[in-house]
C-alpha cells in the first residue's frame, strides 16, 4: 500500500513573543491514518496542532520558523488563503461548542459561509454529514430544534458533523473526548476509526489508553520538543527512549 504523506512539518519552531514553545518539530502525517499527539500538560501539543490550520494566527506576537506542508504546499506561504486552508484542514475542539442555532443551521453554517447557496444541495450535505458523524438517527426528527438541547456527547458529534460538512481532507481534534462520559467517549473513538478511512486525522489527547486504542502512529511531546514518534503498537510495547517509556508507564507526568 502506498503511503502518501498528507501533511508534514520539518524543523518547525514556534515562538510566543520571546518564548520558544516548539523546537524543531518534524513529523510526517500519513494519509488515511490517525496520528495521536501525547505528552504532559503544557508540552506544546495543542500549540503544534493549531499551527497546522493556522489558528495560532489569531494570537498576536507569534513567530513561526521551519516548514509546514499540506500535500506539496507550504501552508505559511504568504500567498496562501487562510480561509481556504481552514476548509481543507478542519478542527474539532475540546469542549463541544455548537452555535446557539438549530441543528440544521449549525451544520449548514460552514456551507453557507463558503458560498453554497442551493437549498437542496445544503440539505443533502447536512444529512450526509450527520450520517458520517453517526448522529443522524438521533436528530433526524428535530433538525430545527436548538443544538444546545443535545447532550454533551451528541453536541460533540454535532461539532464533528459541522466540521465534516465543508469536506476537509484533514481533521484536527484537540482532546475531543476529554469533556465527555465514557460511553460518549467510546462513540467518538469508534467514529474516529470510521472516519480515518476517508480522512487524515491528527488527535491531541491526554488519555494514553485512548491514544493506544485509536491511533496508528503516536508522537510523544515533552517541553516543546518531539521526543519520539513511531507506530502506536511499537511505541506502547517497546518504546525506543527511556523518557517515552517513563511517561507512558506513568513514572512521571
Amino acid at each position: 500500500m502506498q503511503r502518501h504523506i498528507k501533511m508534514h512539518t520539518k524543523n518547525l519552531d514556534f515562538f510566543y513573543g520571546d518564548f520558544q514553545a516548539l523546537h524543531e518539530i518534524s513529523i510526517d502525517f500519513i494519509q488515511h491514518q490517525v496520528t495521536a499527539l501525547i505528552g504532559p500538560s503544557g508540552c506544546g501539543k495543542s500549540t503544534y496542532l493549531r499551527c497546522l490550520n493556522r489558528m495560532n494566527d489569531l494570537i498576536s506576537r507569534i513567530r513561526i520558523k521551519g516548514e509546514a506542508m499540506l500535500d506539496t504546499q507550504d501552508i505559511y506561504d504568504p500567498s496562501v488563503d487562510v480561509v481556504t486552508l481552514r476548509r481543507r484542514v478542519g478542527m474539532v475542539f475540546q469542549k463541544p461548542n455548537p452555535f446557539p442555532k438549530s441543528i440544521f443551521e449549525n451544520i449548514a453554517y460552514g456551507l453557507k459561509v463558503n458560498g453554497v447557496k442551493d437549498k437542496a444541495n445544503i440539505t443533502a450535505i447536512v444529512e450526509k454529514s450527520l450520517k458520517q458523524a453517526a448522529i443522524w438517527d438521533e436528530v433526524r426528527d428535530r433538525l430545527n430544534e436548538s443544538a444546545l438541547g443535545l447532550s454533551g456527547g451528541q453536541q460533540q458529534r454535532l461539532c464533528i458533523a459541522r466540521a465534516l460538512a465543508v469536506g476537509p481532507e484533514v481533521l484536527l481534534m484537540d482532546e475531543p473526548a476529554s469533556a465527555l462520559d465514557p460511553i460518549a467517549t467510546q462513540k467518538i473513538e469508534e467514529l474516529i476509526t470510521e472516519l480515518s478511512s476517508k480522512l487524515t486525522i491528527i488527535i491531541v489527547t491526554h488519555n494514553m489508553q485512548q491514544a493506544a486504542r485509536v491511533s496508528d502512529r503516536t508522537a510523544f511531546f515533552y517541553m516543546g520538543k518531539l521526543i519520539e514518534v513511531n507506530d502506536t503498537d511499537t511505541l506502547f510495547t517497546k518504546p525506543k527512549l527511556k523518557q517515552t517509556e517513563d511517561y507512558i508507564t506513568g513514572r512521571f507526568g
Binding site: M55, G90, M91, Y109
Partner: protein, 285 residues
C-alpha cells in the same frame, strides 16, 4: 465560637437585606407620591388633547408625541453608531495608544453633564449646522449623550459571546466579518437590545439636552418633519412648575405629566426585560 460566626453572618445578611429593601422602598415612595398626586389628572382627554387655557386645562398629547419622536431620533443616531463602535472596539481593535485614546474619550463622554450637552447641541446643531430647534437637533444631542451607554452595553454583550464560537466559525473557513455577522452579533443581540432600550429610556426623561435644542414651551401643531420643534414630557413638567403663570393651578397637571412619563419609561424598561428573556430562551434551549 461557631455560634458567634453565625450571629455575625446573620447581622451582615440583615444589613444587606435592609439596603436592598431601602432601594425598593425608595422606588415605591416615589411612585406612590406621584401616583397619589397625579392620577386625578390623567384621563383619556388628558392623553389625547393639546393644552388649553394657558396650559391650565387640556392634555399633553403634543408632549407625548414629541418625546416619542425624540426617542426615535435618538435610536436612529445612537444605535447604529454605538453598535458599530462596539463591534470595532471589541472585535477588531488592538490595544495600541490610539484605541486607548478612543476608549478614554468614550468614558469621558459618559461623564459630561447633560446641560453641557444641551449647550453643545445648541451651538453646533442648531446654530452652526443651521438645523434650529428641531427633532433633528434634539435627537442628535440626545443621541451623542446616549452613545457611551449603548457602546458599553453592546461591548458587554459582545464580550459575553464565548470565544469558542468565534474559533469554531473561523476553523471552518469563515472570515472574521462572516463570523461577526452570522454568529457573534446574533448571539449578542439580546444584550445589545436590552442595553440600548435602557439607555434610551434614560434619554426619554432628560430635560437639559433638549431644552435648547428640540423642545419648546408651546407649539400648537404636532410635528410634521424632523426639522420641526416639539414639546416634550420632561420639559413640560419643568415649564409648568417654574415658568408658567399659574404654577399652583397647574400642580395637578405637573404630577399627571410626571406620571405619564414614568409609566412610559417603566413600560420601555419592562419591554426590554421581557424581550431579553424571550430572546435568551430562544438561544439557550
Amino acid at each position: 465560637m461557631i455560634k458567634q460566626r453565625l450571629i455575625v453572618q446573620k447581622i451582615w445578611f440583615s444589613l444587606l437585606k435592609v439596603a436592598a429593601w431601602v432601594n425598593g422602598l425608595a422606588l415605591a415612595v416615589i411612585v406612590y407620591f406621584i401616583l397619589s398626586r397625579g392620577w386625578r389628572a390623567v384621563s383619556w382627554g388628558f392623553l389625547t388633547q393639546a393644552p388649553k387655557d394657558s396650559m391650565t386645562a387640556g392634555g399633553i398629547l403634543p408632549c407625548i408625541v414629541g418625546t416619542i419622536a425624540l426617542c426615535l431620533m435618538t435610536i436612529l443616531v445612537a444605535l447604529p453608531i454605538g453598535v458599530a463602535s462596539a463591534i470595532y472596539l471589541n472585535e477588531y481593535a488592538g490595544h495600541g495608544k490610539f484605541i486607548r485614546f478612543i476608549r478614554l474619550g468614550i468614558n469621558n463622554l459618559a461623564g459630561v453633564p447633560s446641560i453641557v450637552f444641551g449647550l453643545f447641541g445648541l451651538a453646533f446643531f442648531c446654530i452652526v449646522l443651521k438645523m434650529g430647534v428641531s427633532i433633528a437637533s434634539g435627537g442628535l444631542t440626545l443621541g451623542i449623550m446616549t452613545l457611551p451607554v449603548i457602546i458599553g452595553a453592546s461591548e458587554e454583550a459582545l464580550k459575553s459571546v464565548p470565544n469558542t464560537y468565534r474559533e469554531a466559525s473561523l476553523a471552518m473557513g469563515a472570515t472574521k466579518w462572516q463570523t461577526i455577522r452570522r454568529v457573534v452579533l446574533p448571539t449578542a443581540f439580546p444584550g445589545i437590545i436590552t442595553g440600548s432600550i435602557l439607555g434610551i429610556s434614560r434619554a426619554a426623561g432628560e430635560t437639559a439636552p433638549i431644552m435648547y435644542t428640540g423642545a419648546v414651551f408651546f407649539t400648537p401643531d404636532l410635528p410634521a418633519s424632523i426639522l420641526d420643534e416639539v414639546m416634550a414630557l420632561p420639559y413640560h413638567i419643568y415649564v409648568l412648575a417654574t415658568a408658567g403663570t399659574q404654577i399652583e393651578a397647574t400642580r395637578h397637571l405637573q404630577y399627571g405629566t410626571a406620571l405619564v412619563l414614568i409609566v412610559l419609561i417603566f413600560g420601555m424598561n419592562l419591554s426590554a426585560i421581557i424581550m431579553r428573556s424571550k430572546m435568551r430562551k430562544k438561544l439557550r434551549i
